[in-house]
């Protein structure tokens, strides 16, 4: 066992992938010096400037270049400093990378990985805090994963780099400094598989990413009141592990879906809709979602603390489905 840090596990996954496969390159703004979060620290020294490319502040074009490189034999891993900046790179991701294999009649694929941190809690304000994963989950041709802890940061990134399709790895700014005890060499985790983070019999709480911490805290609070919540960490958002969620629902008959992203039209809406459909006969209560209110992310700590979903909100939702 060792102390695992999220940003170091990202760097370790990149280093292991680069050592294993010469076609893996890393590019992004300021990454040679470790990037904003230290998630690429040491890579330039080890693999050189031809494989660790510091780009100009030019997201649309270096993302487009990554698409072209992926079509021509490389496996580029792009770092976007803040997920909000993907707005500049929508064309190469949505119109190009996501559709090429399909539009080209199955010729080739685009083995591109994009690492994009989302999330608030750092007074980033409305342009540096957004959780935009639902946008990308809505685009056929893209895959999305969202590691909630340091071992998943390693395991999911390794899978993303090996995957033949474009994969967006959504990290969380507040997690980079997170550390937990874990195995020195964490396993590679498959895309599309959820993880039952905590077994329980009374209700199922589905979550992903940094929200898992709040859900864990909520489950502790509920346990003190004699309620056993089962927690599912989705790990993968597109595709998401529908069978695991459904199976849990058949045991607990109650479902809460919690995420930091704005609740309306979010990932939780899709999960709730699917379970209301294929899991209808299993449900003993309405499905309740927990997410941010429908407003931009505010700056002031007092405002942001109220804005961000937390354990209390999860407990309140759990109590609603347990009524």
């Amino acid at each position: 066992m060792a102390e695992l840090r999220y940003n170091r596990m990202v760097a370790a996954a990149l280093a292991d992938a680069m050592a294993e496969d010469r076609s893996v390159i890393v590019l992004g703004e300021d990454i040679g010096g470790g990037g904003v979060y230290g998630a690429t620290r040491g890579l330039k020294e080890r693999f050189g400037p031809d494989r660790v490319l510091d780009t100009p502040i030019s997201e649309a074009t270096f993302m487009g270049a990554a698409v072209g490189a992926a079509l021509s034999g490389l496996k580029p891993v792009v770092e976007i400093s803040f997920m909000d900046f993907l707005t500049f790179a929508m064309d190469p991701l949505v119109n190009q990378a996501a559709k090429m294999r399909f539009m080209f009649g199955g010729q080739g694929s685009v083995p591109l990985v994009v690492r994009a941190p989302h999330g608030g809690g750092v007074s980033g304000g409305a342009q540096h805090s957004q959780c935009l994963e639902a946008w990308f989950a809505h685009v056929p041709g893209l895959k999305l994963v969202c590691p909630a802890d340091p071992p998943s940061a390693y395991g999911l990134l390794r899978s993303a780099i090996r995957d033949p399709d474009p994969v967006i790895v959504i990290e969380h700014k507040a997690l980079y400094a997170a550390r937990i005890e874990g195995p020195e060499n964490p396993p590679i985790l498959p895309i599309g598989k959820a993880h039952i983070a905590r077994p329980g019999r009374d209700l199922t709480i589905v979550t992903y990413g940094a929200m898992l911490r709040h859900v864990n805290k909520a489950a502790d609070g509920l346990a003190a009141e004699g309620v056993e919540a089962e927690i599912i960490d989705l790990r993968s958002l597109q595709p998401w592990d529908e069978p695991t969620v459904l199976e849990s629902l058949t045991r607990t008959h109650r479902l809460v879906v919690a995420h930091e992203a704005v609740e309306a039209f979010g990932i939780g809406a899709e999960i709730a809709a699917r379970m209301a459909d294929i899991g209808f006969d299993e449900l003993d209560a309405p499905i309740v979602r927990v997410g941010a209110p429908f407003m931009p992310s505010p700056l002031a700590r007092e405002l942001e603390n109220t804005y961000l979903p937390d354990a209390d909100r999860v407990i309140a939702a759990a109590k609603r489905v347990l009524e």
């Binding site: 010469r22 076609s23 390159i25 031809d50 494989r51 490319l53 780009t55 100009p56 030019s58 649309a60 074009t61 270096f62 993302m63 487009g64 270049a65 990554a66 698409v67 072209g68 490189a69 992926a70 079509l71 021509s72 034999g73 490389l74 496996k75 580029p76 064309d91 190469p92 119109n95 190009q96 090429m100 294999r101 399909f102 539009m103 080209f104 009649g105 199955g106 010729q107 080739g108 694929s109 083995p111 056929p140 041709g141 895959k143 899978s159 090996r162 995957d163 033949p164 399709d165 498959p190 895309i191 599309g192 598989k193 993968s236 595709p239 998401w240 592990d241 529908e242 069978p243």
Partner: protein
């Protein structure tokens, strides 16, 4: 699909490009500075004529209602595609535009697959899913026509990065029109390609129009001046003279392959049709259309061949061969199968998981 299968499909994708791996010696990468001989000029004429006749056939098929989707013809601009491709190696990669039939033909995409795609048949190079605006043939280095103006430039920049990173002596060529020049992607791509000294040949097909408006009303700069700002080597040529385009491209390609970095070739050309088939062109002055016709690249190439002493019979033979090839391809395309929905849906991903 398991991990092994995922990796296999990546290998297959790379194999599709048929690009020699690192360290492998490419075909002669030195410039072809030979003076233009008759056989080379005949080949150029043949390509120009093939594109013209193929697009005239596409126009007729559009009128007939046999071609679904939006069709943009490059009639009047054929010499750019023919001249530029004549100086590229088969492994060089190309990104094209919405006006891309000529690029595909000149890059060597078989006419059967091309027409079957335009008629949206299963035998099409993209199995009827792409059509005119998404023609792609990775095995021949055609990384796609593109429905998004200027989107091909960064893709070519990245393809050039892959060529260099993997030790290939190949280049990537990006075609775009003057209608793309106000897009930020053009400016950013010039910057990135120059900054990283990548083997990119930028080819601007300057026909004076951006969709339905003159580009003079859209641009505050001349392309040559913009190139200077990026210290990007730039040359302006008569894009309707296929021999001039071919010679200028050979020089540009030599410069790029010497690892001098990217090069911008601006080809002054003429759009003889509307923005799309069906465009009544009410915005266009009849004098301008007549002037375009007077600079017809097919006529210019034919006159050059005649001046070189090629007989009328030899010219007629080329025409006959071109027309026969097109007729056969159209007949085959008409006999093609409807695409399968299940096969299409399955190709949204290379590896389905879960």
């Amino acid at each position: 699909m398991n991990m092994r299968q995922c990796l296999d499909s990546v290998d297959r994708a790379v194999e599709l490009l048929h690009i020699p791996g690192a360290g492998e010696k490419m075909t002669n990468a030195t410039p072809r500075a030979k003076p233009l001989d008759i056989s080379k000029m005949k080949a150029l004429y043949r390509t120009v004529l093939l594109i013209r006749r193929a697009e005239e056939r596409i126009r007729d098929l559009c009128v007939e209602g046999a071609v679904p989707g939006f069709i943009h013809l490059s009639i009047g601009q054929e010499a750019v595609a023919a001249g530029v491709m004549s100086a590229l190696d088969p492994g060089d990669t190309v990104t094209s535009t919405h006006r891309g039939h000529g690029h595909a033909i000149a890059k060597g995409v078989p006419l059967e697959g091309l027409f079957a795609e335009l008629l949206a048949r299963d035998e099409g190079i993209c199995r009827g899913r792409g059509g005119s605006m998404h023609l792609a043939d990775l095995s021949r280095g055609l990384l796609g026509a593109n429905g998004i103006v200027a989107a091909g430039l960064p893709i070519a920049v990245g393809s050039a990065l892959a060529h260099r990173s993997l030790g290939r002596t190949l280049l990537a060529a990006a075609f775009f029109g003057d209608g793309a020049l106000a897009e930020g992607l053009v400016h950013e791509s010039f910057n990135l390609a120059m900054l990283w000294r990548l083997p990119v040949l930028f080819v601007c097909e300057n026909n004076g129009w951006g969709e339905f408006s003159p580009s003079a009303g859209q641009l505050a700069f001349a392309l040559g001046d913009l190139a200077k700002a990026y210290r990007l080597p730039h040359r302006l040529v008569d894009g309707n003279d296929v021999a001039e385009v071919a010679a200028a491209t050979a020089k540009a390609v030599a410069s790029v392959r010497r690892r001098d970095g990217p090069y911008l070739l601006e080809c002054s050309t003429t759009r003889m049709r509307g923005h799309y088939e069906g465009d009544p062109q009410r915005y266009r002055n009849p004098v301008d259309i007549a002037e375009s016709a007077a600079r017809d690249c097919v006529a210019i190439a034919a006159a050059k061949l005649r001046d070189m002493g090629v007989s009328a019979a030899a010219m007629a033979k080329i025409e006959h061969e071109v027309d026969s090839a097109i007729a056969a391809a159209v007949a085959a395309a008409r006999a093609g199968r409807a695409p399968s929905f299940d096969a299409a849906a399955a190709d949204a991903y290379a590896a389905r998981i879960g």
